[in-house]
């Protein structure tokens, strides 16, 4: 089985900042907006180079989404950044009407998603954002897994014509996707080959899925790890191809079980290839304050939870 090693540690939001900085140099139509969270979103480098292409929106997210829609209609490619909690639930109607239904070319940059936001607690720990966004027609939903992938996804989002929800996180996590790995929106990335079970993982859980695959290998279980970085449009072909071989599925994500990646995969399989499936996700409960590591353990999103889910689903084969 192919082994992945950590090439270093960085936060995915810094990958977004690096991608935005890159876009600032290469695409004059790219503009950025932020609701009083420049440092958290790592937008400083872009703003320093292109102050005229940055618009501080203040703590007024609804207006920021609308302004972004207006910029997009006029041919600009706006990246509107704030925490995932405020980038989705707080402005759902604005996104629904002015972005998704109007099909404006707005890129919603959502940081601090999921439990790993940590100590700020449940008010800020957004775990229903993927569900909210994937339900909207015209919306593309991307949840990259490390610094390199987030940078590549940011650049790909600018080239994609239409609304994009780009989700990333706060904590420093391993970098394991090669810097030159091509990022294709809607195309799943197969990381390991396996024959007994497929683990579909997204975001911070991808690294944990790879670790789980190594543990499982020692137990004689061959796991195929597939990184679903694009929740919508979902790469159904890759899902069906792998599952028709392994006939057992585990999904892993830092999101509620309701509305997340597991939900999307289950829908495809229920319609086209009914298969035993287990989900590693947060099951209908809000989070709480704590360190990211403590929270991932307490809410069942750690490597051992994936291993356990695989064993459970194998027993159902």
């Amino acid at each position: 089985m192919k082994k992945f090693v950590s090439l270093g540690n960085k936060d995915t939001r810094s990958g977004f900042g690096a991608g935005l900085y890159e876009l600032g140099k290469t695409n004059p139509n790219v503009v950025a907006l932020c609701a009083d969270l420049i440092g958290s979103l790592k937008m400083d480098d872009f703003i320093k180079e292109h102050p005229e292409r940055f618009f501080q929106a203040g703590i007024a997210e609804a207006n920021m989404i609308g302004v972004s829609a207006g910029l997009a209609v006029s041919g600009k490619i706006p990246f509107a950044g704030t925490f995932a909690a405020f980038a989705t639930g707080r402005v759902y109607d604005q996104i629904r009407q002015s972005v998704a239904y109007s099909n404006t070319n707005v890129k919603i940059a959502a940081s601090h998603a999921g439990l790993t936001l940590g100590e700020d607690g449940a008010t800020h720990q957004m775990m229903e954002d993927l569900g909210l966004m994937k339900m909207l027609p015209n919306m593309t939903v991307i949840n990259p897994c490390d610094y390199n992938q987030t940078k590549a996804a940011t650049i790909a989002a600018a080239a994609w014509n239409g609304p994009v929800y780009l989700r990333f996180g706060r904590p420093v996590v391993p970098i394991f996707i090669p810097e030159d790995q091509e990022f294709v929106i809607g195309k799943a990335l197969q990381l390991t080959e396996g024959t007994d079970v497929t683990i579909f993982a997204t975001g911070h859980l991808v690294w944990k899925a790879l670790q789980a695959a190594e543990v499982l290998e020692q137990k004689g279980i061959s796991a195929e790890v597939i990184n679903i970085h694009t929740i919508k449009p979902l790469d159904e072909e890759a899902i069906l191809r792998s599952v028709s071989k392994t006939r057992a599925v585990v999904t892993a994500e830092e999101h509620f079980m309701n509305g997340g990646l597991g939900d999307s995969v289950a829908q495809v399989l229920a319609r086209k290839l009914p298969t035993p499936l287990e989900m590693v996700a947060v099951n209908d409960t809000f989070g709480e304050s704590g360190t990211p590591e403590q929270l991932m353990v307490k809410y069942g999103l750690d490597t051992p939870n994936i291993v356990e889910a695989v064993q459970k689903v194998m027993a159902r084969k």
Partner: protein
């Protein structure tokens, strides 16, 4: 010099279109549409720098207009058609299945003239502010116009946008308020008083022009004043007094025709008051 009589005549046909459009599907919002018929006519036939046959979403090189209170779409559709954005006969499809003239405006059906969906209130000023910023980035000297209901100003997002436009010195933006004092549940003062609207806009850092939205000469003068105030570091608000239902006697002086279509007998009475000036669709 504007031909006031000609504009008044167009506005009468727009009112007639509005009533015919909501009567056919027995659905729609005649009250505010009638109240703003003069506004739309003045804007599209006199004020805007626009080229209906060369409509682009990006609006580069032209003035842009965003309707924030999307429910008064009948008046907007009528003026768009009659100023050449699409064929007048298409007005007959309003609110019917497979139409580009949706109940509330949307670019999803690719109807020329419409750039962003509206209907859920409070969003249009933010969108217009974004479009105005883009014009500044592009060095495009044209202006961005909006229309809002007065009841719509109860939405918090409006005041976020009002603050934003002033703070960012978006002085190529003219926002008009349809100040008719009425909303679905009754007089605005009773439902949720707006207080001193003029003082509010001024306090947020906007220029304010007051005008009568049902007097063509005064309306044009209001637009001219507003235009003159652009380019000086402040966005401009037109507080436009109107009468909801203007032009149809039984629809005036009440909020009851906000979102109700006339029956056949009421329709006939309205038609008798609104002569066909440009030819019906």
């Amino acid at each position: 010099m504007a031909d006031i009589t000609k504009l008044q005549s167009i506005a009468t046909q727009v009112r007639r279109d509005v009533i015919r459009m909501v009567h056919a599907p027995a659905s729609g919002h005649p009250g505010g549409s009638l109240g703003c018929a003069d506004f739309f006519t003045a804007l599209y036939f006199e004020v805007l720098n626009h080229h209906p046959a060369k409509f682009t979403l990006s609006g580069e090189g032209q003035d842009m207009f965003f309707l924030s209170n999307g429910h008064i779409s009948p008046a907007w559709y009528s003026v768009l058609a009659r100023s050449g954005y699409f064929e007048v006969k298409e007005l007959s499809t309003f609110r019917l299945i497979d139409s580009r003239l949706q109940g509330h405006p949307t670019p999803a059906e690719h109807l020329p003239g419409i750039r962003v969906a509206s209907g859920s209130l409070g969003q249009g000023l933010s969108v217009a502010a974004g479009a105005a910023l883009a014009k500044k980035l592009n060095g495009d000297k044209n202006l961005v116009y909006t229309l809002h209901g007065d009841g719509e100003l109860q939405e918090g997002q409006i005041w976020e946008a009002v603050m934003f436009a002033a703070a960012r010195k978006i002085d190529n933006l003219i926002a008009t308020v349809d100040f008719n004092g009425k909303q679905i549940d009754g007089p605005t003062d009773q439902v949720m008083s707006l207080g001193d609207l003029k003082a509010k806009w001024l306090a947020f850092g906007w220029e304010v022009v007051e005008t009568n939205g049902n007097d063509m000469a005064q309306l044009l003068e209001g637009f001219a004043q507003a235009k003159k105030l652009t380019g000086n570091g402040k966005p401009v608000c037109i507080l436009m007094r109107t009468e909801m239902g203007m032009g149809v006697d039984y629809m005036m002086g009440t909020h009851k025709w906000h979102g109700k279509a006339p029956n056949d007998e009421e329709f006939a009475r309205a038609m008798a008051q609104l002569p066909e000036t440009l030819g019906d669709y």
